[in-house]
């Protein structure tokens, strides 16, 4: 009997029991009609070689294990960062079930989003009735300060016009005429979640700056700096770290889209459907800022263009991590705000440098493959180069030609980048071939990388969204010098684990 009440075995150990091992073997032998073990072993071996790699890279249509999501995921994330805001998706309801689950699995938080549940009749007649009814229900039931609308591909394919639909809904009294309902068209067959973030952020600013009270121009400067964090699985901790920097520097700022409270609400007996976020007044006033700085260029291309058209100075970074990333962040904030970088932050920098110096011998020349969003891969590559690591494969399923050029330039800026290869528009099945044919020491990416780790034996370091199979990583920053320290330690821990696991004679107490 494999199970006992004393020591209850669940799936982790139960199926290792002989009764289950026999069951697997007998099912396979008698009923499954699978290919022979030899054929499987031969094919498994074949997939590790150059010939398979060439076949794999020759495919033009099939996408296998991509590292990207679709536009509306980014849109609902962007919307969630505003005060009292209910993200609303016009289109099929199943998409919304997916966005909510996907974000909840990463943040371990409730993710309230509504759908207007368009079905076959809406596919024929359009979704106007859905939005009229949906806005009224969402507004009445959930009492939001703002409803932000994005779309699923169904609504996009049939060509629903959000601007006209929302205007009609307001005329019909679904929500008060002056109730903010920014929107963005977010077709999932264009770009990825980072584009959806951009579109929705622009849609929100556009509502407050041009639609709410007619076209506005920047008025009396409010002396503030706007910051757009971008789509970031670590936003909870990173936004807080960023705000600490800005406070220490004495910079007056508006974080446009701040999910650090809503995706990190306390357990104290009360469920908060809304918590924190950029206030609507701050968002209105953000047009009068000195400048707008985006922390993720590829999450804000259109938004920054729009802000620039309003007469503001704009700048963008690529997910500032580690030494040079944080240096660039602080210098840019200083430049745009006119505030000097205080000694206390320089001291933090020194502490991170101290830590890297202490450990550099364990990092020098280690080869890394990394995958993720365009800005993350740029920021991560920069930090690896800072530490003397060698980014060998930099892969981005949703990277553009501009992204590729930037990574190449970055790699070219350091001797440690000399052997680096850049893989734009490739997926994790491509990366599997790369890791077998041109192996590395470590892999950096999201939880999806665990299948690569299992197949290739290359240790995975989880440092980007989504992280489903480890808890609470997102509650600690990766941004800034403190974040750099944390990223350093995560990498070092894996380096030492590998060293210990593969040592016998040199199983050293001190490393």
């Amino acid at each position: 009997m494999p199970q006992s009440a004393d020591k209850i075995k669940d799936h982790i150990s139960l199926f290792k029991e002989p009764e289950y091992q026999e069951l697997f073997a007998s099912k396979k032998a008698q009923f499954e009609c699978r290919h022979s073990d030899e054929a499987v072993a031969a094919q498994a071996e074949y997939t590790k070689g150059w010939e398979y790699r060439e076949k794999n890279f020759a495919r033009q249509i099939a996408v296998i294990n991509p590292a990207k999501a679709c536009q509306p995921l980014g849109a609902v994330f962007a919307a969630a960062g505003f005060e009292g805001t209910l993200p609303y998706v016009h289109g099929s309801q199943g998409c919304v079930a997916y966005f909510r689950s996907h974000l909840a699995r990463h943040f371990k938080e409730a993710v309230p989003i509504v759908a207007d549940s368009m079905t076959e009749d809406a596919a024929v007649f359009g979704g106007l009735t859905n939005i009229v009814e949906g806005l009224q229900n969402a507004y009445t039931l959930y009492n939001p300060k703002m409803i932000v609308v994005s779309t699923t591909c169904m609504a996009e394919v049939i060509g629903d016009d959000l601007s006209a639909f929302i205007a009609t809904a307001k005329e019909k009294g679904s929500v008060p005429g002056d109730f903010p309902v920014p929107f963005a068209h977010t077709p999932s067959f264009v770009g990825s979640h980072v584009v959806g973030y951009d579109n929705q952020m622009k849609g929100i600013l556009n509502y407050f700056w041009d639609r709410e009270a007619g076209e506005r121009k920047a008025g009396a400067p409010n002396g503030k700096l706007n910051i757009i964090p971008g789509f970031d699985g670590y936003a909870v901790a990173n936004n807080r770290e960023l705000k600490r920097y800005l406070d220490v520097m004495g910079v007056d700022y508006t974080l446009l889209g701040d999910v650090s409270d809503i995706y990190d609400t306390p357990s104290d007996g009360e469920y908060r459907m809304y918590d924190g976020g950029t206030t609507l007044d701050e968002t209105r006033d953000a047009i009068n800022a000195k400048a707008t700085l985006s922390l993720q260029e590829f999450c804000s291309l259109k938004t920054l263009e729009y802000v620039k058209d309003k007469g503001q100075a704009v700048a963008s970074l690529n997910y500032p991590m580690g030494i040079s990333g944080t240096d660039a962040l602080l210098m840019k904030i200083s430049e745009l705000s006119g505030k000097p970088i205080p000694d206390s932050l320089e001291k933090e920098r020194g502490r991170l440098m101290d830590a890297i110096t202490d450990s550099q011998a364990w990092l020098h020349g280690k080869k890394f493959a990394l995958f993720g969003d365009p800005d993350f891969t740029l920021g991560m590559t920069a930090f690896l180069l800072d530490m003397g690591c060698e980014p060998t494969h930099v892969l981005c399923t949703n990277g553009s030609a501009e992204w590729e050029a930037k990574v190449k330039a970055l790699l070219a800026s350091s001797p440690f980048g000399a052997a680096g290869q850049v893989w734009r528009g490739k997926d994790l099945w491509h990366l599997r071939s790369l890791l077998f044919t041109e192996p590395v020491d470590f892999l950096i990416g999201s939880s999806y990388g665990k299948y690569l780790e299992k197949d290739t034996g290359i240790p995975l370091i989880r440092l980007t969204f989504p992280i489903f199979d480890r808890h609470h990583h997102h509650r600690f920053p990766t941004l800034g010098y403190q974040g750099g320290l944390r990223v350093l330690v995560e990498i070092l821990d894996r380096v030492f684990e590998v060293a210990d696991a593969s040592s016998d004679i040199s199983y050293d107490l001190t490393r």
């Binding site: 009997m1 199970q3 009440a5 075995k9 669940d10 799936h11 139960l14 099912k27 009923f31 699978r34 290919h35 499987v40 997939t47 398979y52 076949k55 249509i61 099939a62 996408v63 296998i64 991509p66 990207k68 679709c70 995921l73 609303y88 289109g91 099929s92 309801q93 199943g94 079930a97 997916y98 689950s101 699995r105 409730a110 509504v114 759908a115 549940s117 079905t119 076959e120 596919a123 009814e133 949906g134 009224q136 229900n137 009445t140 039931l141 959930y142 699923t152 169904m154 394919v157 999932s188 067959f189 264009v190 609400t265 306390p266 357990s267 908060r272 099945w429 999806y448 299992k454 197949d455």
Partner: protein, 485 residues
Amino acid sequence: MSLDDQNDAAFHEDIIKEVLAQYPEKAAKKRARHLNVIKSDEEAGSSSCGVKSNVKSVPGVMTIRGCAYAGSKGVVWGPVKDMLHISHGPVGCGQYSWSQRRNYFTGTVGIDSFVTMQITSDFQERDIVFGGDKNLDKMLDELNELFPLSNGISVQSECPIGLIGDDIEAVAKKKNKELGKPVVPVRCEGFRGVSQSLGHHIANDAIRDWVFDKTSAEWETGPYDVNLIADYNIGGDAWPSRRLLEEMGLRVIGSWSGDATLAEMERAPKARLNLIHCYRSMNYICRHMEEKYNIPWVEYNFFGPSQIAKSLRKIASQFDETIQQKAEEVIAKYQPLVDAVLAKYKPRLEGKKVMLYVGGLRPRHVADAYDDLGMNIVGTGYEFAHNDDYQRTTDYLKDGTLIYDDVSGYELEKFIEKIRPDLVGSGIKEKYATQKMGVPFRQMHSWDYSGPYHGYDGFAIFARDMDMAINSPVWSKFKAPWKAA
């Protein structure tokens, strides 16, 4: 029936009223038909819990439902392990559902098994404009080249496919011939129907049309050949179930669709009897097999010792005395384990109130497992049940039990707040809001990353998990001590 055997009907009716009062008039009217309290002494509607079901969700209320694609790719087809399943359309659907249902299987991923892979045609604007058929044709070649040991390919349609007029059936027919392996087109676009449910049905129909009607299996039917239908092997559920069936002398020739190979699906019409666990998602194909191949089907329930014993006897009654005798032996064999589990956990769980909100089966099917542990279901509801599910529900539940069909986020939160159950069993979207209210929670779709829960082996895990949720010390620490008074 004594009052102890009833839940508080008057209280539950009051909170339904309270909740409905918050809706705009039209929505309140629609939602009122989905909320009720079980009353067996009233004729009208009592046999189906008195709720409407399987109708469109109200826009904007935060339904918890998914879509037809989720019902087909996510539930029925996705677990078939030796086939490639293409999420045909934009990248998102496949991405969000990638490896999320914990359909366990044995095999080598990417070589002869493909369950934990996300394969998509990743539609771009040009596909919407020019159609995706040509690329699908090419993609099937590419996949066949990269995964030669795959035994078939299914094409799971996402929303745009049906809207842009693609003819994936024509592509499937052509490629079926060219590749020499089944290519199964599934019209499970997310906008079809009102929930996952139509996706199950469409997926069942695709098995009928593209597996049964296009393939044939060589099989010498034995006297005890059965199919284990609609167990998706979540956390390994189908394996303890299979053990019990084998121990009682049956031969499980097909396991659907958890840990299934295509061969097991093709062979299914050769069985003597179909045993169906999740009635909602696969009753269609069982009915078809009954009509066309004359195979009877039996619903069974492997959650908790009472239902397991009942089901083993029910299944055995379809066979001869040898099997019936063995079924009794199996029940007897596991009784000490059951006794030990109950002795350990029942005292810790007795009298605890439970609210459930799950898919199309478990809101009733797990009720007696809780009952075995002395726990009481005070409210339950389905995402995508039909009338026949609600009819089956009354057998399991007490009078006065609160019923909520296609519950909205608002309703569920309010019901939990008012009832303050000792445990809520629902999904990932409901988990964190509930826990923050200080109410213990278990995910009852994914077994909260635990399981299996089926069979006697699974019941022990189920009991352990419910205990650790409810009796965790964390719930007493929510209030800061300086605020606790």
